[in-house]
């Protein structure tokens, strides 16, 4: 047998370095997996008594764990989805304005301002939502209830305080908008110059350039940004806990009444300080539910991103 000269040209120390890097990277991957499994296992074990608890042992006297969990999981997903629906168009608009329309100085200022929004602690947003936004929106809800009450979202008696899930979702939307806008700005700036010139050369106006060249390439990035925002909104506690006035066991789509679904995270934060015995297990069980929901939402998000993300 002849030996071919295709052996590695790496020197011994280089090979050692490569092995170390490979090990470190694999280790990091392993660590993530172990932590995730560890957290999941803890939640399952510690939450188990709660999952099987009877009505007398559960918070709010829920008939069983699922009766407690289902409305809260619904509230979490519903408020997060509403927030994303509000935040994405706003973020795309801001990012388009910053990259394509604003004068240079204004663009820089606005981009910095959006980044500052991202750094404000959520308690501050919660306070603002409770003290300023909710009372400010109460008349709007009254108007919506009166004129658009036939529409399921605006059905029911409008809240007089404005502490509705719409207000909560709006606060959430303001909190997640900067992440989405940053992502959009990034992808808008990366539009291939050749595509932009193709559109301009055909006599496209600025808006038409955006439609022909910028958005088709940016779609994947916009969806990614929306998913990041959704994740953040699902896990957010304080904004909802402070702003929204919850009703127990409620699953409903009206967004302007004073009876609103609560979210898992807000409920845990509200009940945990007073909880004891099996109630604590039940709250941990709710944490497990949220943990699983996060996985499911992530899987769905990946699917959506794969189907719609490629430029078409």
């Amino acid at each position: 047998m002849t030996t071919l000269a295709f052996t590695s040209t790496l020197s011994r120390p280089e090979r050692a370095t490569a092995a170390t890097v490979r090990g470190a990277v694999a280790g990091a991957g392993l660590l993530v997996t172990v932590v995730l499994i560890g957290v999941g296992a803890f939640l399952a074990v510690a939450g188990w008594p709660g999952l099987t608890a009877s009505s007398s042992e559960l918070p709010l006297g829920a008939s069983n764990f699922w009766a407690l969990a289902a409305p809260l999981v619904f509230g979490s997903v519903w408020s997060a989805v509403l927030a994303v629906l509000i935040a994405v168009p706003a973020a795309v608009g801001v990012a388009l304005y910053v990259t394509w329309f604003a004068p240079r100085a204004v663009a820089g200022f606005l981009a910095a301002l959006v980044d500052v929004l991202a750094a404000v602690p959520s308690v501050v947003y919660g306070l603002w939502g409770l003290m300023a936004l909710a009372p400010g929106l109460a008349p709007v809800y009254a108007w919506l209830g009166e004129h658009l009450g036939w529409f399921p979202l605006f059905a029911g008696q409008p809240s007089a305080t404005g502490r509705t899930i719409a207000t909560g979702a709006l606060v959430l939307a303001i909190m997640i908008m900067p992440i989405i806008a940053a992502m959009c700005r990034e992808v808008f700036q990366r539009t291939p110059r050749a595509s932009i010139e193709a559109a301009q050369g055909l006599g496209a106006t600025r808006w038409e350039v955006i439609r022909l060249a910028v958005l088709p390439f940016a779609r994947g990035g916009i969806i990614c940004g929306a998913m990041l925002g959704l994740g953040r909104a699902l896990g957010e506690t304080m904004a909802i806990a402070m702003v929204v006035s919850p009703a127990p066991f409620l699953i409903g789509f009206s967004v302007i009444t004073s009876a609103n679904p609560n979210t898992v995270a807000a409920f845990i934060a509200q009940v945990f300080p007073e909880a004891h015995d099996v109630e604590v297990s039940a709250l941990i069980g709710l944490g497990l539910a949220m943990f699983l929901i996060t996985f499911i939402v992530n899987a769905c998000a990946r699917r959506v991103a794969r189907i719609y993300g490629e430029p078409r």
């Binding site: 010139e197 055909l202 088709p216």
Partner: protein
């Protein structure tokens, strides 16, 4: 791969002559002057070739003609360009409208990759908000693709995306896209530099046919190509880095290549420069 019969999308309605008069054009990128005082007439229904060493401002001049130059950051121009007497840099002229009249083919093929072949051809018309019925759209698609020597190879897959074509086909699609809007002038910036010899030959044939209906300006580094396809040639040069490009001479291609007035031109077209 090339059609034998070539029909053109535009029935030649030569009402106006489509003559371009470039007068004392200077172009700047910020504080850097890229072109100095270019005056040059581009005759209608001819192919004019811009030649010259890299950096002499050929692309810049081409892009001042359809007002693409000003899309670069801090770009400015001084001077005027008249199309049939109308100043393209006049006070009430919308650059977008100019680009609809003066089509451009770029060095790298740049079809809209996410759009179908048919939609690519019709993209310019849609931008002009012209009402295009299904059959009329089909007709324009066919005529433009035929004029671009592309019809036979794509007629069975008009709904496939632009990205499904080879580089040479993509470039011809870009030419079809320009032809579809029936511009007055077609500008081509090194349209064959990314293509193989066969695609290049196909596009050269196409340019010669386009001359019947359009005023065509091409930029090329290929002396043989300039000789083969162009009627008139303009030679530009640049003294050094940071200096503006200047027009040395412009004349019939025959004259520029056989009896140039200036020694610099003779050196360049003869392959002796520096």
């Amino acid at each position: 791969m090339t059609d034998t019969t070539v029909t053109t999308a535009a029935t030649p309605t030569v009402s106006s002559s489509r003559r371009l008069a470039i007068e004392s054009m200077s172009a700047y990128y910020g504080d850097v002057q890229a072109l100095a005082d270019i005056s040059l007439t581009i005759e209608p229904h001819t192919i004019t070739a811009f030649i010259g060493p890299s950096g002499c401002g050929k692309s810049t001049l081409l892009r001042t003609i359809n007002r693409m130059h000003e899309t670069a950051p801090h770009a400015k121009v001084a001077g005027s360009i008249r199309l049939d007497g109308v100043d393209l840099y006049g006070a009430n002229v919308d650059p977008v409208a100019v680009r609809r009249k003066i089509g451009m083919v770029f060095q790298r093929p740049n079809p809209f990759l996410t759009m179908s072949i048919r939609d690519n051809v019709l993209a310019g018309l849609k931008l002009q908000h012209r009402k295009v019925s299904k059959t009329h759209g089909d007709d324009i698609t066919e005529m433009s693709l035929r004029a671009a020597n592309l019809w036979d190879s794509v007629k069975d897959r008009l709904n496939k995306p632009g990205s499904s074509l080879s580089g040479g086909q993509q470039q011809r699609l870009c030419i079809a896209r320009v032809i579809a809007v029936e511009p007055d002038v077609i500008l081509m910036d090194e349209p064959c530099s990314a293509l193989d010899p066969i695609s290049t030959a196909a596009i050269e044939d196409l340019m010669i046919n386009l001359r019947r209906d359009y005023t065509v300006v091409i930029v090329t580094h290929n002396m043989q190509q300039a000789r083969r396809v162009s009627d008139r040639t303009a030679f530009f040069t640049v003294a050094g880095a940071g200096e503006p490009g200047r027009l040395i001479e412009c004349g019939s291609t025959e004259q520029i290549f056989s009896h140039p007035v200036h020694q610099a031109t003779a050196d360049y077209v003869g392959g002796r420069f520096g």
